[in-house]
């Protein structure tokens, strides 16, 4: 098991006051604090080589968990181990085998080519020159950034910079990857490229990946398993395909009929009419009955029953059930 988390808690003590000058003056003399439970009793295990999506709205506790697992933050309670070691101890043996990549932060030197920054990482990670060169060239080729690594980083586009950052983060061939919004701000083509790269890296090196992203396409493309966190607690941990079974309150029945203008709203909410195809949103518990009714009442040439899109399910998890 590469990652083990049991009853993990992280509490921040943050100052707070009312708005206005009087409250500001009062807080000079008497500051009040509030305890924020960013992570509140989280437990999960991730075996070697698994790619797991870590989902949740802003402030859910995703990044805090990732920071604990990469040794940046000390826990307030519970336990976390990565590759059998406690991250907060920042042992060289662990830090040499993990990486943390954050889509909105840079680690490459701004004014010099990425190649020079890579050289710095080589020294920090104590990589032997031959292995370093072969890994670097392999990653550069995989991400197709041959010439870009010779340009000053400041001259690269956001997408190019991100690819250069990824190469820098993986030069030591980490076994565990913590990816925090790696595709944020990138265009669709670049997002796809990065996704296929992460999948390829996972396949090639058997790496374990914990990924947070607000783009569901990232999660759908890469993760068979997802962990959903909200208010610092886990709401769901299981197969992505089971997410809908657990949380979706409705399914969509799409029928192909000779008369699409007939009244279908008696069965549920008609969400689309496209030529002879009609889509009806129906409460999960009513699906079998409604499907039978539609087949009985209309000359149907085709009928499909679909789960709602994962985006909708996730949105429903965080905001409450949508109307069936």
């Amino acid at each position: 098991m590469d990652i083990r988390v049991a009853g993990l808690r992280k509490t921040f003590r943050v100052p707070e006051r009312e708005a206005g000058l009087r409250a500001a003056l009062r807080s000079l003399a008497h500051r009040s604090y509030r305890e924020v439970h960013a992570v509140d009793g989280v437990s999960f295990d991730i075996p070697t080589g698994e790619v797991v999506g870590f989902l949740g709205p802003n402030g859910a506790g995703k990044t805090t968990t990732l920071k604990i697992l990469s040794g940046l933050l000390h826990v307030s309670g519970g336990e976390a181990t990565v590759l059998g070691r406690i991250p907060a101890r920042r042992e060289r043996e662990l830090l040499s085998r993990i990486t943390l990549l954050m889509g909105n932060r840079n680690q490459l030197q701004w004014d010099i080519p990425a190649l020079d920054s890579y050289e710095m990482n080589r020294a920090i990670y104590r990589l032997d020159p031959a292995t370093f060169r072969s890994t670097r060239d392999e990653l550069v080729e995989l991400l197709d950034i041959g010439d870009l690594v010779r340009k000053p980083v400041r001259n690269l586009s956001l997408g190019e910079r991100m690819k250069a950052e990824i190469v820098g983060s993986l030069l030591h061939r980490p076994q565990v990857l913590f990816l925090d919004e790696p595709t944020i701000g990138l265009d669709v083509t670049m997002q796809k490229r990065l996704r296929s790269f992460v999948a390829e890296y996972n396949r090639r090196y058997g790496a374990t990946v914990l990924l947070t992203s607000h783009y569901m396409a990232d999660v759908i493309a890469l993760c068979r398993r997802v962990i959903v966190i909200h208010h610092g607690q886990i709401l769901f941990d299981g197969a992505l395909s089971a997410l809908s079974d657990t949380f979706a309150a409705y399914k969509t029945i799409t029928v192909t009929v000779a008369d699409p203008l007939a009244r279908f709203d008696v069965y549920g909410e008609v969400t689309a009419v496209d030529g002879s195809r009609v889509s009806i949103r129906v409460g999960k518990q009513d699906v079998s009955r409604v499907a039978a009714d539609v087949l009985r009442d209309h000359p149907v040439t085709d009928l499909t029953i679909e789960e709602p899109p994962v985006e909708d399910v996730i949105d429903q998890v965080f905001t409450g059930p949508v109307t069936a």
């Binding site: 802003n58 030197q109 010099i112 920090i124």
Partner: protein, 265 residues
């Protein structure tokens, strides 16, 4: 204990990276040159003014005071070259949350955070200081023996270590206070007092400039070594105090690091 080559190879690597960065901005070299020359002439004018009224200042002759001034300029350059930029970067990184990347590297955090920045053009001040010092020693007339030279080198190293510890101790406050940029002005203001030997200051100030802000060890003691005024027990005291500061500030820094919470999620 970390093997010595690592302690040297990593700083050299960062020096190289920073040199690559700074060499792209040639104008900074000329700006620094102008700034250093102006500062030198201002300091010389003040010294000349003082000695136009008196033959000596609290037992210090003109060449001896010029030596103090030389050390003050050189050590000041050293601080702005290697210590201050790293501490300011640390403050900025804690505030912005960009310390994350440094802390995920498999290297001693204190070492890594203390060698990342290097301002090569500040070496002009180090050179100017060295020239002033050489002139002062020549003017002083007494030959500097091996003992004096070694004493000077040891005093400069110990003084630099103490100033580094002082900066690190102050900067560690950023993990609680967050906005700490004011320490640059605070330090620069206090450092100006080091332009004069600390022995000319009255009791409490002298103690403060010795143990609170170690100006005495960083500036006055090295100058004493080159002008034949250094008592060896002073050097021993400097070594003891430096060792204490290294241990104490390292413990403080490690404690402070536990309070790092990142800027945001």
């Amino acid at each position: 204990m970390r093997p010595a080559p690592r302690l040297l190879s990593l700083p050299w690597l960062f020096f190289r990276i920073n040199a690559l960065n700074e060499l792209q901005y040639r104008v900074n070299f000329f700006m620094q040159l102008i700034q250093s020359v102006l500062a030198l002439f201002t300091a010389l004018a003040v010294l000349a003014l003082v000695f136009s009224h008196t033959e000596e200042l609290a037992g210090w002759s003109p060449p001896e005071l010029l030596a103090v001034m030389g050390v003050h300029i050189a050590v000041g350059g050293l601080i702005r070259m290697a210590i201050q930029p790293n501490m300011l970067r640390l403050i900025e990184d804690v505030r912005e949350g960009t310390l994350d990347y440094a802390l995920t590297k498999p290297e001693d955090a204190q070492l890594l955070l203390s060698i990342r920045e290097f301002r090569i053009w500040q070496s002009i001040d180090v050179l100017v200081g060295a020239l002033v010092l050489a002139t002062a020693v020549r003017w002083h007339g007494e030959a500097v023996g091996i003992g004096g030279a070694l004493g000077f080198a040891a005093a400069v190293v110990l003084g630099a270590v103490m100033i580094y510890c002082f900066w690190l101790a102050l900067t560690s406050g950023v993990f609680w206070i967050v906005r700490m940029e004011f320490i640059v002005e605070l330090f620069d203001g206090v450092y100006q007092a080091g332009r004069w030997p600390v022995t000319i200051y009255p009791g409490l100030l002298r103690v403060a400039f010795t143990f609170l802000v170690p100006l005495a060890f960083a500036v006055t003691v090295p100058a004493e070594a080159l002008t034949g005024r250094l008592a060896w027990d002073t050097l021993l005291a400097a070594a003891t105090f430096a060792a204490f500061l290294v241990v104490a500030t390292r413990a403080l820094f490690r404690f402070a690091l536990r309070h790092y919470s990142g800027a945001s999620a």
